[in-house]
């Protein structure tokens, strides 16, 4: 749109620049801190311009913390969660929006409520479940007396095998898929899709699965891109859950490793901020790249919107 609104354009640019400064300043600080040596980074106030130790710090951090394999684990975890989320949430939202059955809203709220309890609160029992994911079903079977029943009838009790998820990718991935952001997002989007589309499809005799695959999903591309970005970053940056469920260093994630090098509030810990900040930046890079890469999906024109 070519309009002549020079004043507004100036204002727009000014606001965007201010926005840029506000958003970039903390990242700049992190970067600068990672380029100084131990002494400089601890002087107060720290200098605002980068120092000369960047390469040295990054190499030290990478080697000391073995970030290579850890990054790979983080990648596997993040991709797993992202894929799982996109697929599952789409299916669930489709079920809730496009079918009318009595339990529909109940399911929606059941899923939605998972957003409202922080992980910190339920982390201890969640760990117990991860140690044996089939235990809930075992308990239910026991409580309902099913096990006693089969014992009576066939002489054998139902004993489910132990599904130990600790120190595994499944343990890292599955619990993180169990939340609601994706479902909510898809729901909002599906509600905006015109009714005529479905009417036309039904008149054509299109079944629900075909409608979903051929018509609805392609329309959802922008939302899926946004969701994928958010979920990747979210799962990459998880620090509390991985720390608990993984004790074998072979499955450690990058952010877990970062936790180990950030100086804590303890006595006797030299504040090696230059190493910690270098680590922070390295760990930040993959999600950043994902965000950068996914941006093209938000560009107008790639989305066929003139319905």
């Amino acid at each position: 749109m070519v309009e002549r609104t020079p004043l507004l354009n100036l204002l727009t640019h000014a606001i965007l620049v201010v926005g840029l400064l506000m958003l970039m300043l903390p990242l700049w600080i992190v970067f600068v801190a990672s380029t100084h040596d131990f002494r400089t980074v601890n002087t107060v106030p720290m200098p605002l311009w980068p120092g000369a130790h960047m390469v040295e710090n990054y190499v030290t951090t990478w080697n000391q913390s073995q970030f290579g394999p850890k990054m790979l684990n983080s990648l596997i975890m993040a991709v797993g969660v992202t894929t799982g989320k996109i697929v599952l949430a789409a299916l669930s939202a489709y079920s809730i929006v496009y079918f009318r059955y009595r339990l529909r809203m109940v399911f929606f709220w059941l899923i939605f409520i998972t957003l409202m309890l922080p992980l910190e609160v339920r982390i201890v029992p969640t760990y117990a479940v991860a140690a044996n994911a089939l235990r809930p079903f075992q308990e239910i079977i026991n409580v309902l007396g099913l096990s006693a029943l089969t014992d009576l009838l066939f002489g054998v009790r139902i004993v489910l095998p132990e599904a130990q998820l600790l120190n595994s990718y499944a343990g890292l991935i599955l619990p993180l898929i169990a939340t609601a952001t994706g479902t909510f997002l898809y729901r909002q989007f599906f509600l905006t899709v015109p009714e005529e589309l479905l009417e036309a499809a039904k008149m054509d005799g299109t079944g629900p699965l075909r409608f979903f695959w051929d018509i609805l999903l392609p329309l959802s591309k922008a939302n899926m891109a946004a969701l994928a970005t958010i979920m990747f970053v979210y799962s990459w940056n998880q620090y509390l859950w991985p720390l608990l469920v993984v004790t074998d260093p072979a499955y450690g994630t990058a952010v877990m490793q970062l936790q180990r090098i950030v100086p804590g509030p303890l006595f006797g810990e030299p504040p090696r901020w230059h190493i910690a900040m270098a680590g922070t930046l390295m760990v930040m890079l993959p999600p950043l790249l994902v965000v950068v890469f996914m941006q093209r999906w938000f560009v107008r024109g790639l989305i066929n919107q003139d319905k």
Binding site: F38, R39, N42, T43, V44, P45, Q64, I123, V124, Y127, A128, A130, A131, N132, L166, Y239, L243, L244, T247, D248, P249, M256, Q259, R260, I261, V262, P263, G264, P265, L266, F267, G268, E269, P270, P271, R272, A276
Partner: protein
Amino acid sequence: MLKKRMIGAAFAAVATFCTMVPDAVAQQRQRFEYWYGLTGQLGEVMADHCRRFNESQTRFEAVCVGQGGYDRAEQNTIAAYRARQHPTVVQIYDAGTVNFMLSGVTYNAVNFARDFNMRINWSDYFPGVASYYATSRGEMWSFPYNSSTAMLYWNRQAFASIGRTAAPTTWQELERDMRAMKAAGHACPMAIDFDAWQFEQLSAIHNQPIATRDNGYGGLNAELLINRGFLPMHISNMRRWLDEGLMRIQTAQTGKTIVQAFADSSCALAITSIANHGVVSATQSEGMQWGVAMLPVYEGTSRTNSLVGGASLWVLQGKSRGEYEGAAAFLDWIATPAEVQWMPTVTGYIPITTPAFQQMMAGGFYNQARYAGREISIQSLTFTPPTANSRGIRLGNYTSIRSEIQSELQAAFTGQKSVQQALDDATARGNQILRRFEQTMRGRELP
């Protein structure tokens, strides 16, 4: 054709053998898990210690996993235990001692050492260290590992500028010195923060209780005494000195902790752990001359020993015999004089056994400039045999209580309440916490 096949088979056999042998050797090592809480550089020291143990013998392998903090180490151990996935050995901070003592899941040190024929000599440990981790009857339930105590850090140059060559030994002298420095133009004679640990230490060296029932050793029905006697007097003094500009609040939130403020010479005095000795050395401003001294006492009081801080190692129940043997070997190894001496060389922590300390003194360790003055921490820790008020603190849910004290002090020092009011409130809330803990632990007794 046959020849090719034979060569192929030979190859395969050799290859299999080559992979089998290391496997066989590796499989022979008994593994056990050890979870530690320290992070950062100290975490690396922990990992290093572990690695050196593994390299020093071939029978056992310690799998050491950092938990990302003392809080997390405790929490993760609890979660793991509930799912029966816990480690054999775990490093738990001083404040976690009560939880572990009452848990019923620990394999107590005295029993463990006896059952697995450890070479440990319990009387080697400094009494001040041992008493913290021992029952009221003197049995040790965990193995001390990294220990520290509180010291007064002083800037020699600042003191020289007021004509003094020694650190103050009493609070009255300290006040006088602070005034002199202020008059001579020092912006910040002393840096302070809200950490409750310093008040525990000061109470101990003045032989003052902070709770009834011998600071909680006697039972779970202890009550806080921090709003009576010594502490209100001392904290009111601090408030007064703060208002007069003799002291300045330095915390991570203000941008500089007391350690940083001391290390860059902006403040001339600070009370903090001896474990920070190494940090100050590494980050001090150029040419700074400084030292450590024992905490000052009020004139007319006779000094008692100071309290130990840091963490200890606990063994947990429910593991296999092989794992326990590995743990016993590890715990024995870190208690040998050589290893006890290793810790102070790479950290600011202090040697915890008398033989090790004597070896270090004889070997001239403390004559090196880098470590000079650290032996004063041992003096402070062993000044007198521990009394009922300086054995340690054994109060339930102590991290929460410390946090309440800290919040109330913040309110007092920012003028929102009077010091007495703040301490009264902290005592009331602290007692509520203690009563809840007591109720939760109904049916269990403090050992």
